[in-house]
Point group: C2
């Protein structure tokens, strides 16, 4: 467990020192020595310094930012995060919650980050343990055709002999309601169009319960992706309390459209679905935590994160091996340069994100008592392709600070600060008012691979990961080293 | 069998009439009546008419071209080729050479085109009958991982228990030669980069024999595609005479790269490959031929074509259901408008193209005796996405005519004539000097789906197919109705 705490006694001292510091025009020394203004950190929330002061303070980090970027993009650390990700995912493979692979992954990362010279510890978490088992689906009428499927996380299985039933194809929840009388005893196929992940994922999440309410015996849901090469995508689904639990799997865009066309022609479609899925008792797991302890305020934290678990398909390289690796790499870069910020840099590799941010929620529940010491929480879980911007949620005053910080990224041309940093794993902190940041990358193809066999090292580019690592390290280091915590 | 023949007697008459016609300035009537100049057709090869005359003659087809385009793109035939393709491929599925599905497909198209009012007949062809059987591959070391594979057409199978062997990963034939001593008893994995289909397909075609020459027991070849969502692609492969026949399959880009990275790390890779593939005796099949007989020169032919067979994955919608459908649709459009050109329009739906243009080669062997009556041979086998241009191979004089013809496509903005029309199935005619044309579409994603489970109706767009059909019909009709055959 990491030290996290504050001291009411210091507060009065800091208020005094802050007033004192505001009388002089001294510039802080960015990396190493403690300026007077630094003492004001804890009380700055409601007494934000002038933007011009912040701009000057942040601008002093131009050189150190350039050193980090040089090391990551052109120097000895070039391609290291990509190589680490390849070594890790090639060795372990995918790492679904509750699996032995996830255990191996946590041990692997504990050892690797320890050998890297970081302070590493594990924090126990109980996590869901759903297993896919054997699964298959075949269209039997109007003609025989195998259907590529992936059962959905938390789904129940079918009887061993499978479920054979006529299909009802609908394009929306509304259509299902209109045609509720046709659903009894059927396998409901959802052929909803892809609008956006955020909107369309409702079909994966709630399709089974909505279909069960109108008497369906199973659901086959068009994968939540805008593009497919006959690729099924898995993911979590939620059963509603009091509603019968029926088996649920995703099918491909191609097969959903095929069955829709057949239904439009009035053809009777029959499918046999067999799923060995079941939920075992919760498993033991860990959030993996690595730190560089702050020299001045070790109890204050800038948190970087990605999740270590994945789905049980592909390699989990994109979701979220890349986010985990750049969150490690950022600390390595800072350490390699002999830097140590005022506050603690803490990388957390969450467990069981895919089951609904289970590891992250427990971490929040355990550590929220020290919330005032969380300066910034950062999450990379939307890919580590070419970075486009930093997304940020926080007060206007904090946004002004962050707007200065991203200017330091001019050498890699990613100086954009966007609204609404978010992410499954940091959202409890953001909702509680802690400033949050997430990495926005060129993600136009992200959902093509997401939760599918296509999530492999092949989609990752070393140079893109260099840039992501540099961005991640510069932002984390500078925020952790500013005299003041970000104003809330 | 269609009538094809010429008459030396007519030649003298035509020469006389041609000289006569060149003395007057009469303009031909494009659709219906026979002008004097038409008689010159057979002798025009060496006495090409002035470009300005051709331009005037072709320009007279502006209205009829517009009527064809209107019908296909905006009128009653809108989306018909797409609907026909969906009905066909949804009903039949894929149609590999020798399969019952291919037999069904031929019957289906025979009936459909007959009901459409075309003159349809079948021409028997003996075709290869390779069957995939059950197949699988697993990496056993350094860790267990299933490999997605597709065995290659003509490959032999493995023993029933499979072949388990250490892997040698190479990136090129040159590397294989350099490392020949390491190949004995190994499964050779080719991880060649994708350069272009034409260049890179050599690995699929010749990989097995090249590996067998240096003692390999099987080959796994990176699929011939620039993009993958863990998608294996099949295709034909050629065993060399006198070289041991070893099993050969394609793996995904992702798995080829994975094994290459593992090999670079010095890891020992072991794979078990099981393939039930075998070659059965040649099967009976047919080229499917539909015609609109020319009113003036029924023995002269403009040939439109696509192939009806596919691989045994996906729906064969793109390769080459689309090409077959627009070749039918072109005749439907012309018939629907009550048009009948001077020469015969003949749509040929080839069988067993994927096995090396088997149906087309036999067609050529049988009909080349009438080669002088083949005015233009057209093939669509590179997709029916948005049309970009017509590709054409022929004499300079013929090119000048075609350059005028494509101007008629101004309403759909596809007036580009490119060099080098080609295609597996029409190449024997082109090599023999017959003018040939092929359809060039916006094909940047063509090889993403080619020979994979991703070749389905989902990649086809109705409007794109309308445009392809319109282009195909206008070109075929006008060339078939011009007074002269294209000069050789």
């Amino acid at each position: 467990m990491a030290q996290e705490g504050g001291s009411p006694f210091l507060l009065s001292l800091f208020i005094f020192l802050f007033i004192l510091s505001s009388l002089c025009d001294c510039h802080p020394h960015p990396a190493g020595s403690m300026g007077l203004m630094a003492a004001a950190r804890a009380v700055s929330n409601h007494t934000a310094r002038k933007v011009s002061d912040i701009a000057v303070e942040v601008a002093d980090y131009t050189d150190v930012a350039k050193r980090i970027i040089d090391l990551a993009v052109f120097g000895a650390a070039q391609n290291r995060s990509h190589r680490r990700l390849a070594d890790f995912t090639d060795t372990i493979g995918n790492r679904v919650s509750g699996s032995q692979n996830l255990e191996m992954a946590i041990k692997y990362m504990y050892n690797a980050m320890t050998q890297d010279g970081l302070d590493v510890h594990l924090e126990p978490v109980k996590i869901p343990h759903w297993v896919r088992g054997k699964e298959s689906a075949e269209m039997i009428a109007p003609r025989a055709k195998g259907l590529a499927i992936l059962g959905l996380g938390s789904s129940v299985g079918t009887p061993p002999e499978g479920i054979e039933a006529e299909v009802l194809v609908v394009q929306s929840f509304e259509e299902l309601k209109r045609r509720a009388s046709e659903a009894t005893g059927r396998i409901v196929v959802f052929n909803q169009p892809f609008v956006s992940y955020e909107e369309t994922v409702a079909y994966r999440a709630y399709g089974a319960s909505e279909a069960a309410k109108v008497g369906a015996v199973a659901t086959l849901i068009r994968s939540i992706t805008p593009f497919s090469i006959n690729s099924p995508h898995t993911g979590w689904q939620d059963y509603q309390d009091g509603v019968k639990r029926i088996p649920s799997a995703c099918i491909t865009i191609e097969d959903a459209e095929l069955m829709w066309r057949m239904a439009q022609r009035g053809q009777k479609i029959v499918v046999r679905l067999t799923m060995g899925a079941k939920t075992l008792p919760d498993a033991d797991s860990f959030n993996t935590v690595a730190e560089i302890t702050g020299w001045e305020h070790p109890e204050q934290v800038v948190l970087l994160s990605g999740h270590l678990d994945s789905w049980d398909v592909g390699q989990g390289a994109m979701d979220d091996g890349g986010g985990a690796m750049i969150s490690w790499e950022a600390l390595s870069l800072i350490k390699d340069l002999g830097l140590r910020p005022r506050r603690t840099l803490r990388t957390v590799l969450w467990t069981a994100e895919e089951q609904g941010g289970v590891g992250a929620q427990q971490y929040y529940d355990l550590h929220k008592v020290n919330m005032s010491n969380f300066d910034l929480v950062m999450e990379s879980d939307l890919g580590t392709f070419a970075p486009v911007a930093l997304q940020f949620t926080g007060s206007d005053a904090a946004r002004k600070v962050m707007a200065e910080v991203v200017k330091l990224l001019a050498p890699i041309n990613t100086t954009t600060l966007e609204a609404y940093g978010e992410g499954t794993d940091i959202s409890p902190w953001i909702r509680a008012g802690v400033p949050g940041a997430s990495l926005h990358v060129a993600d136009s193809r992200y959902f093509w691979f997401h939760h599918s066999e296509g999530d492999t090292m092949t989609v990752q580019d070393p140079q893109d990961m260099n840039l992501c690592s540099a961005l991640w390290a510069v932002v984390a280091y500078v925020v952790a080293d500013l005299q003041d915590m970000l104003p809330r």
